[in-house]
């Protein structure tokens, strides 16, 4: 039985990122922006990638599409289940070659952060959505317009025929984000990368867009890699969450697990620093001291060492922790949680206690 499940989950795998590293050469030295990231996405799943600015989440997502700057030296493997060739390592493909173009925009597409910046102000919205269909689906202008219009209606743009011929400046932020989603989805991609798609929007519009993305995901059965720093939207959108810090994934777990039982001190800090609306908590917010260090000439050991309140001298600043599975699907990279050394079994104990409580209930 379990073998079957394993097999099916293997088959369902749509994207598998293995040991992805991105280095950027600067005058001052090498910036290790992404330092060995592993994750995978199954069909129809939403994986949230959470972290503060500068932690490498955007670089990771752009590496999947191969649209990073030339300066970024990328190594590792990005295995994607392509339509024609089966499993393929996208990093082997030439960044400007024909094969990656088949994938980019058609099978994997991206929704960018700032809808106002993502569109060219010189072309009409219809023209820009059309570009994608003409490249990937049909050369027939009439047909491609039909497809584009249909998609615009699907994402809830009222008056699509009229809107088709308008320019980006005539759209409001929310409408423009819808148009951007339409552009990303028009070729029915298998994987959608959404890089902070709602950060620039008002809460009411944000709620609309999130609902829309969920609906479309169900309709089209696509997987979403949802990149954000907002833990609220993650809770509403994702099935699994990966927390990134300083170019590494420090914790990855199903969404319910990560909020109920965050293990890594960084994750705990992140969740603690958000005021939960509707709770009458007027006390001080938990805050993580200091700021994210620059990934230049990093010292050995855990990247979070300087800011961590559970750090163990002589362990955490000597050896880098590895991602280890603590419970089903819940992986953490932290010495203090792993319980492999003296005086730091606290993390493990609390999780065991909690488990016990749950069983009692």
């Amino acid at each position: 039985m379990s073998e079957k499940i394993e097999k099916s989950s293997q088959q369902d795998l749509i994207l598998d990122v293995r040991d992805l590293k991105i280095n950027i050469e600067l005058d001052e030295g090498t910036l290790t922006a992404v330092r060995g990231v592993n994750f995978s996405i199954r069909k129809g799943e939403t994986l949230g990638l959470v972290g503060e600015s500068g932690c490498g989440k955007s670089l990771t997502s752009k590496a999947i599409l191969g649209i990073n700057d030339k300066k970024c030296k990328t190594t590792g493997e990005i295995i994607f289940d392509t339509n024609d060739h089966g499993m393929m390592n996208l990093l082997d493909l030439k960044p400007k070659g024909k094969e990656i173009r088949e994938v980019r925009g058609k099978q994997i597409s991206m929704v960018f952060q700032e809808p106002m910046v993502a569109f060219s102000p010189l072309y009409t919205i219809g023209n820009q959505i059309n570009e994608c269909t003409r490249l990937h689906i049909t050369k027939d202008k009439k047909k491609s317009k039909e497809i584009s219009l249909e998609m615009m209606k699907k994402v809830g743009i009222a008056n699509a025929e009229k809107r088709y011929d308008q320019y980006p400046h005539e759209f409001s932020g929310g409408m423009l984000q819808r148009a951007l989603i339409a552009m990303a989805l028009v070729c029915n991609p298998k994987l959608l990368i959404a890089d902070e798609p709602t950060t620039a929007l008002d809460v009411t519009i944000q709620a609309q867009i999130l609902e829309l993305m969920k609906e479309l995901q169900k309709d089209l059965n696509m997987a979403i890699l949802f990149i954000t720093h907002d833990l609220g939207t993650v809770a509403a959108m994702c099935d699994r969450v990966a927390v990134m810090y300083l170019g590494k994934i420090v914790e990855i777990a199903p969404v319910k697990d990560i909020y109920a039982n965050p293990m890594h001190p960084y994750t705990q800090g992140l969740i603690g620093s958000v005021h939960k609306i509707g709770t009458k908590n007027q006390e001080r917010l938990f805050s993580i001291e200091g700021t994210v260090p620059l990934a230049l000439n990093l010292p050995p050991g855990c990247g979070f060492y300087d800011r961590c309140h559970k750090r163990i001298e002589g362990v955490c600043n000597v050896k880098e922790p590895e991602l280890t599975e603590m419970s089903d699907g819940h992986m953490v990279a932290c010495h203090a949680c792993a319980g492999g050394c003296k005086g730091c079994s606290q993390g493990v104990q609390t999780t065991e206690n909690r488990k016990g409580e749950e069983e009692d209930v």
Partner: protein
Amino acid sequence: MEINHLTKDFPSKKVCVHAVSDVSFEVNEGETIGIVGESGCGKTTMGRCVVRAIPATSGEVMYYPAEGEPVNFLTIDKAKMKELRKDIQMIFQNPYSSLDPRMTVVDIIKEPLMANFPKMSKEEMEEKVMDIAAKVGLNVSYLKRYPHAFSGGQRQRIGIARALVLKPRVIVCDEAVSALDVSIQAQVINLLKDLQREMNLTYIFISHDLSVVEHISDKVGVMYLGKMVEYAETESLFTRPRHPYTEALMSAVPVADPEIKLDRIPLAGEIPNPANPPSGCYFHTRCRYCKDKCKEAAPEYREIETGHYVACHYAEELMLRGFNYEETADNGN
């Protein structure tokens, strides 16, 4: 401080945009007033009018100085203005664009002192700058650097130091933490709260982030299309909202807890054009309780309970959904 019937119009050739119309509220010393609303609802414009960064079209901002008679901050003459301006300061939204890149941090923080106390000795100024910089948690040895060498959170601290150096009584924070990462946001919010306690500051905290506002404010005002639609104590507003817009706004906020299933109240469409607002109640085009009366007559802004003001015809009848503090607290445990 008391704000009465504050109005700001931006006239253009064809139309007149009523960015802020007839907003009134009171601010007591040592309090934090949160102002929330969607972008384009006029909350920033209101904040700027209060500090007189832009002139208001009509209305008054009554300010009660520590000594002397209350004055209308919007109409006082230049000399008096100079005297009182140091009492009311502002922290801006974007820490990347509100600091002059060609000035060192010391100069940035010192600038308000030079403008307001030209006769103060250099040593005294330096001392004051160091004092305030240490208070907001800036490393004093870095003060000779330029803003580009600082991170977002540090820059926001510089902005706060600049506002505080004159020892003001009222600070208008316009989206002071919106541009920051969550962990830094928490640091800055804690800092603002500590400073408030220490220096007995009064904040007018403008933000679109309801959870931040709920955390920091004693009273909250909700703005829609330039009008205040609801104003009440924080707890009263969040547990028992009286205006349908407040209810919808609150239901749209994503809660950082997957266990809480959101029952969103969909708010169709977008904020209407303030140059051409709808008739009657401005909110009727998006309101799910809309009745005929709403389309015709504008509702009166009235006190429905002690300290709870609302502008809706049916505020008394509607049973709107808020947050149940006790229930969510149990869930949290």
